[in-house]
Amino acid sequence: MQIKLSINGQKKNVEINPGDTLLKAIRRLGLTGTKEGCGEGECGACTVLLEGLPINSCLYLAFNAQGKDILTIEGLKGKNGLHPIQQAFVEEGAIQCGYCTPGMVLISKALIDRNPHPTEEEIRNSLSGNLCRCTGYVKIVNAVKRVAEGGKRNEK
């Protein structure tokens, strides 16, 4: 069956089977920035924002996403370059293998959007549905802190 999805401000037609997840539909459109780490809603690598709220796209039916605004990592970069959260991830060294990065960036955006100045504990709580095996989270937390503190440059 064919459904219409609104992804990153664009309307897209996509062919799906009724049981297909949103993750599958998104990747079928060539938007492979959304990753599958477990397919069971446990790692957060497939995080996208649905109407501004983070979801595990591996647990969400594509069919049910019709008529809702979906933001994937590919839609975050603006005309003037990287989103401040993306910029902070790059400059703080919050990326190693990078497989968790799209999900981490989007979950961080969802946090900052509803709580522009989170504490470290709030940041860590918010990131706890998203796993990272490389960084030990230190630099990811630093990147989010930096955005929360108004993008102060990391001196040194």
Partner: protein, 767 residues
């Protein structure tokens, strides 16, 4: 050198950071191609069973299924890194739950997943054995007919006079330790694509950590000429050793060679627990003695290592467990014997640290027990035993640089270190605090796996556009090697990072390099890149001299300009004119690095200087134990590493921070739990517990720069050693807090609570 720290030592963002943060970076599981077929493996539902019949016609008749493969359809050669005992698909019998028995190739992954359920395999179960100590007994079922006692390998490493040395000890501590089966769980499960092109050449896209080694293994297994195998490395989502051995590529390649169409094989999360092989579990009996000043005199170890059902890289892991720790201190008398034992478990393999975390846990915890009996501060005791640059260790390791004493000192100074012996529990007290310290030594380019050549080669290619391409065979698995290589080239050539590209490893054009294992990439590959860049710069100077009509000796190069008197040419001008004046040719700087006075360890004695340099580290943890829940909470964690020289603080800190958190997982929460058939009980993130952001402390890291004489710009290694001292530091802090001796990992809240209750009962009985 005048501009030496222009790029080296500075905070530099990864060269692939923008691609990764925007989602445009393509990982192995993102790749596709026209006509791609999908493979799904049928795995054994028994730990040990005879295969009596495989009936696949129902699966083959499903729409979309191309073919079902079993052992009879593929190469009959056995493979294995040191002991060759592994078939591509099980033949006659299965030896572990999860062993590949058949594979469906279909138009889509969904069809293939559905089809494997239709394959009927008739098994006759055989007695199983899962405990290596049991497997060594005479009456145990034999897993491989040609390995009596289920012993794959027995090794020894003995030096000095252990009997005599133990007799001279003032204190001796002895205990038995159990180290668990843990898994790498990289965020991206392993996957690859293989196809045979019209000329008969095999092409493989893979995240494998050692493309060159992989290529030679595949050529051997499938009886192909090396030049017929093209391996292209695609940076995967994490490796940690798991993507180094041959675990799935051989299946993908076998299918592609047969079907002559592109084949994709990507594990799902559960499959990755069976198809990517974790850390070798060990049972270690350790005896350690010291004189009354705290000087370590003798060590005796007996290591029983769990090979699982097939010999992967575990023989090498056993050698590491038998020797590595002995060079951390000035020990002279050691007697180590180890057995690698077959069991009906998933094979074990390569995981960050490679046998070192297991043995370090035992020695570093016994040192604290010795220190407690001698009433010597464990930090001081370690300093008294620490080696210095210039030492040759008990196994012949040539320590050209060593910052261990300084690492320990920094830990003690910057953590309010206040050690007062093992803690005692008091009635009614609910929360205890403790501090623990532990150290490590690690290699930086361990020789021994690929006997013919362990060096590295690189090319720095500069075209008329002034763009610089750094070619190396080492590859990138996410640690930041390509960024380091770009920094090295930028430093030598005096150009900006943006000008430099580091293409992926492709056996079509990449020079020789062995890849990301044994902490070798920066130390060995980095030296090759440095030499290649220096060679390219010399060629550019010659071109500049030629253009100016001068001798090369008259040319000075600084800040991107070639100068002589009042004559100046820019880098771009020299590249352009230099290339065009020779018919448009590319300037190719060539470099190699062959580690000097480094050898493969002797097979019988394990003696020999196996690495060009060695890195050292110390870690200190401050923690809290909740008596009611048994939960251990990390309050502060400081990791100090002598990595020779920090080439990029962002990368080095990231390696150390990430390693410590992985080490905390090893210490407190991670364990692959196997059921009665050897099936994984917890093959998912909700049950296999890696640390979450909320569990993880904001690790503090510091570096000691000993400027190693052989490393590139003085650099050694950091990625692997990062997790080695973490678990023993935590165990020592528990000893310091409540006096409990930790002999097995992970220290889960349940286990901790049980130990605490035991102590409380003892306390009550005394009253």
């Amino acid at each position: 050198m005048k501009n030496e720290s222009r790029v080296i030592g500075r905070k530099v963002s990864r060269i692939d950071a923008t691609e990764k943060v925007t989602g445009s970076f393509k990982y192995p599981s993102d790749l596709t191609m026209p006509g791609l077929l999908h493979a799904v493996v049928l795995r054994s539902p028994h730990g040990h069973a005879k295969i009596e019949e495989i009936e696949s016609s129902a699966a083959e008749s499903l729409e979309g299924v191309i073919k079902v493969f079993t052992a009879k359809d593929v190469s009959q050669e056995l493979f294995g890194e040191i002991v060759k005992d592994t078939p591509i698909f099980a033949r006659e019998k299965v030896r572990y739950y999860g062993e590949p028995v058949a594979c469906v190739l279909a138009d889509s992954e969904d069809v293939a997943r559905n089809a494997i359920k239709k394959i009927k395999v008739k098994y006759k179960t055989l007695p199983e054995v899962f405990d290596p100590s049991e497997a060594m007994k005479e009456e145990a079922p034999l897993i491989h007919d040609n390995y009596p006692g289920n012993i794959a390998v027995e090794k020894k490493a003995e030096r000095g006079d252990v009997e005599k040395a133990f007799a001279e000890c003032a204190v001796i501590e002895k205990d038995t330790f159990t180290l668990p089966y843990v898994h790498q769980v990289p965020l991206e499960p392993n996957g690859c694509i293989a196809f045979v092109d019209e000329r008969g050449q095999l092409n493989l896209y893979t995240p494998n950590q050692s493309p060159a080694w992989l290529r030679s293994r595949l050529a051997e297994l499938f009886n192909l000429d090396l030049f017929q195998v093209r391996v292209i490395q695609i940076q995967g989502g994490g490796g940690f050793g798991g993507k180094c051995p041959l675990t799935i590529e051989q299946i993908c390649v076998a299918l592609a060679l047969d079907i002559k169409r592109p084949v994709r094989l990507v594990n799902n999360r559960e499959e990755d627990f069976y198809a990517t092989w974790g850390r070798v579990p060990m049972k270690i009996e350790l005896e350690l003695g010291a004189d009354k000043s705290g000087k370590l005199l003798a060590k005796r170890s007996r290591v029983i290592a769990d090979n699982g059902a097939y010999s992967n890289i575990a023989p090498g892991v056993l050698s590491t467990a038998l020797t590595r720790i002995d060079s951390l201190y000035r020990l002279k008398n050691v007697e180590n014997i180890g057995w690698l034992v077959y069991t009906n478990k998933i094979p074990t393999g390569m995981f960050r640290g490679f046998g070192n975390p297991q043995i370090t846990f035992t020695v570093e915890t016994l040192i604290d027990r010795l220190a407690a009996r001698l009433n010597i501060d464990p930090g001081e005791m370690r300093k008294r035993n620490a080696p210095c640059a210039g030492d040759v260790s008990v196994h012949g390791w040539n320590l050209k640089s060593c910052g261990l004493t300084e690492c320990i000192a920094i830990c003690m100074e910057e953590s309010n270190w206040n050690w007062k012996g093992p803690g005692k529990m008091e009635k009614g007290k609910k929360v205890y605090r403790g501090q623990g310290l532990a150290c490590c030594i690690h290699v930086a380019g361990n020789r021994g796996v690929y006997p013919s050549f362990d060096g590295s080669a690189a090319e720095v290619r500069i075209g008329p556009d002034g763009g610089v391409k750094v070619l190396s065979g080492e590859g990138e698995i996410g640690c930041g090697a390509n960024t380091t290589f770009a920094q090295i080239a930028a430093e030598i050539l005096g150009v900006e990072m943006e000008r430099i590209q580091v293409p992926e490893v492709d056996s079509c054009y990449s020079p020789f390099g062995l890849g990301a294992y044994a902490s070798r990439v920066t130390a060995i590959g980095g030296n090759a890149v440095k030499n290649a860049a220096e060679n390219a710069l010399e060629q550019l100077k010659e071109e500049a001299a030629c253009l100016m009509g001068l001798n090369k000796e008259k040319i000075i190069y600084e800040e991107g300009r070639f100068k002589s008197g009042d004559k100046t040419l820019t880098f771009e001008e020299v590249c352009r004119e230099g290339c065009y004046s020779k018919g448009g040719t590319t300037i190719v700087g060539k470099g190699t690095y062959i580690p000097q006075d480094v050898t493969i360890a002797d097979k019988e004695t394990l003696y020999g200087n196996i690495s060009p340099s060695y890195s050292f580290g110390a870690q200190l943890v401050d923690l809290e134990i909740d008596v009611e829940t048994g939960k251990v909470k990390i309050l502060d964690f400081l990791a100090v590493q002598d990595l020779g020289r920090v080439l990029n603080p962002l990368g080095a800190e990231g390696q150390l921070e990430g390693g410590v958190i992985m080490g905390i997982g090893y210490a407190l929460s991670e364990e692959l739990v196997l059921g009665e058939k050897g099936e994984v009980i917890n093959p998912r993130y909700r049950d296999y517990k890696i640390p979450l952001a909320i569990d993880s402390p904001q690790v503090r890291v510091k570096f000691v720069e000993t400027n190693d004489p052989v490393g590139p710009f003085g650099a050694k290694s950091v990625g692997e050693p990062a997790l080695v001292p973490t678990a023993p530091a935590i165990a020592n802090a528990i000893f310091n807090a409540v006096g409990i001796k930790v002999n097995s990992l992970p220290i889960t809240p349940e286990k901790m609570k049980m130990e605490l209750q035991k102590k409380i009962r003892e306390l009550e009985e005394k009253e």
